[in-house]
Amino acid sequence: MSRYLGLAAILVLALIAPFFVYSVTLMTILVFVIFASSFNLLLGYAGLLSFGQAMFFGTAAYITGHILKTTGVTLEIALLGGMLVGAVMGFLVGLVAVRRSGIQFAMITFAIAQFVYFLLLQSEFTGGEDGMQRIPRTEIFGLIDLSDNFSFYYFVLAVTVLAVAFFYRVVHSPFGEVLKAIRDNEPRVESLGFKPDRYKLVAMTLSAGMAGLAGGLKATVFQFATLTDVSWHVSGEVIFMTLLGGLGTLTGPMVGAGIVIGLNDHLAQFGEWALISQGVILLAVILFFRRGVVGELGALVRRYKAGGRK
């Protein structure tokens, strides 16, 4: 019950937030909520550490931007386009990467992401080092004008709510249960007649599609796409968010995205200290608080309840 209360509280906060906080900052958080959740689906539920999640995010940003710049389609079609390309990429990368188990999956996704980075750097349509500028924000369904950031925020919020509902469905479906079982004991799942690689491949495709959706949204929020979106720093940042918020929890990536974007905003003026503090916090999380903010809070609440019952 308390979980639904928590979600409701987050939703109410999200609805009134743009009256108090700059809406572009808020939209950045929402974009990274979806992106971090996509990473969490792989590591938190399937035990797959994707160290190249930015390749889906960044490529979809370029694809969505390219569709909007070169065709007259409405916004939602362009977003779907980015999502689809992300999902197809995820499937292809998955075909190669699930062939090696455990830690090598991380190294392979890391290397393939760099391959994608170089491909996009050399591609004509991405604008190379300059990036893709002036991406138009067309009307959604051809009806609703979203050119100002305040109203666009509510669109991004709606998409984020749908995305989170999707992650909830996946994680709590029979498919999600098999994923968790693979994470905990792969040989056992295999002995029961399941094919773990197929499940991992589907998880990879779903996760990459959602990362693609996040990338497409990012391109429409900022109206530009750059190579930074594909870089390993972004792949690392999304790992940081998820671990900080709480791995394998639905709300963890949300909390993590909020904290990290907020932190980046405040530390931006201190140059390198933003990255250094990320490293220090990540190290502290790994060494001392592996359950992340949400997990540690949950454990505190449970301990309190258990104490009360005595």
């Binding site: 590591l43 035990g47 550490l49 160290f51 190669v96 990467a97 062939r99 090696r100 188990s101 455990g102 830690i103 090598q104 991380a106 190294m107 392979i108 890391f110 290397a111 393939i112 760099q114 391959f115 170089f118 491909l119 050399q122 390993w232 690392g236 790992i239 671990l243 140059g271 390198e272 200290w273 990255l275 250094i276 990320q278 490293g279 220090v280 990540l282 190290l283 790994i286 060494l287 592996r290």
Partner: protein, 293 residues
């Protein structure tokens, strides 16, 4: 020989490939040694390599200690840093999923790179060659220093391989990799061996950094950009094998150099293409004795 491709260009790129390959080989060998015993993918390997180069630069510019001094001092300093890091960061999480080892060393990388960049900026610092000049081979000019790097790193690779595969010390290492409990019961201090192995691997990275300083510019990001290639090399060669890491490192350096001659557009893609092909055609790794991880 080939139309429009001069022998000078070909030999020049072959040499560059051999130099790059030497670094790929040394670094992936260190990564393989650390992984073999600890099952940690040492993401900080690139940062430790960069530290080696920076220490060499600092020794020269603050204490006036030249390259040959740095070649001894810098690896020792970096290895000492490795000992501290193993004790404080890796040992406490040794019992957890090995993913945490990768993530923790990634966090350390962010800290090291950030601090160096904060202190010295992100542009490259020059380090002049300790052996200037070279020899004209008729078809190309071979700088002495590059010859030294190729020979020295080759000797380091062979020496390390021999140490681990053919000495008593190495057999302890390999045994501890297979079954730490039994090795422990023979009275060997396995935790200390793990610490020293990590220090050795990290020291190798520092040594490579000193070797690299006069060739590439000394910059905070010199390690992380190399790290991506090293990961691909290790994936291609197979995680467990030291000789596999060495051979794949040299091979890919040369292939990369040749690609620069024949198809320059693909030069920074070729290693990754080979990795993907290798994963499809030989999923267990080119030189792997057993399935890693």
């Amino acid at each position: 020989m080939f139309d429009g491709i001069s022998i000078q260009l070909l030999m020049g790129q072959l040499l560059i490939g051999l130099i790059n390959g030497s670094f790929y080989a040394m670094l992936s060998m260190g990564l393989a040694i650390i992984f073999g015993l600890m099952h940690v993918v040492n993401f900080a390997h690139g940062a430790q390599y960069m530290l080696g180069a920076f220490i060499a630069w600092l020794l020269l510019n603050t204490l006036g200690i030249n390259y040959w001094g740095a070649l001894f001092i810098a690896p020792v300093v970096v290895a000492a840093f490795g000992i501290v890091m193993e004790r404080l960061v890796l040992k406490p999480i040794h019992h957890l999923d090995h993913l945490y080892g990768l993530l923790a060393t990634y966090a350390v990388t962010l800290i090291i790179e950030g601090l160096i960049r904060q202190q010295y900026g992100s542009s490259g610092l020059p380090y002049s060659s300790p052996i200037p000049g070279g020899v004209n081979l008729g078809f190309m000019f071979l700088p002495w220093y590059r010859l030294w790097v190729v020979l020295f790193s080759f000797a380091m690779c062979l020496g390390t391989w021999y140490l681990i595969e053919h000495t008593r010390l190495g057999s302890y290492l390999r045994a501890a990799n297979e079954n730490p409990e039994i090795v422990e019961s023979f009275g060997i201090n396995v935790p200390r061996m793990i610490t020293l192995t990590y220090a050795f691997g990290v020291g190798l990275a520092g040594l490579s950094g000193v070797l690299a300083a006069p060739i590439y510019q000394v910059s905070p990001s010199m390690g992380s950009s190399l790290m991506i290639v090293i990961f691909a090399v290790v994936v291609i060669g197979g995680m467990g094998s030291i000789m596999g890491a060495i051979l794949t490192g040299y091979l890919l350096g040369v292939v990369e150099g040749l690609t620069k001659v024949f198809y320059p557009e693909a030069a920074n893609l070729v290693i990754f293409v080979i990795m993907i092909l290798a994963l499809i055609l030989r999923p267990q790794g080119l030189f792997s004795k057993k399935e890693g991880a």
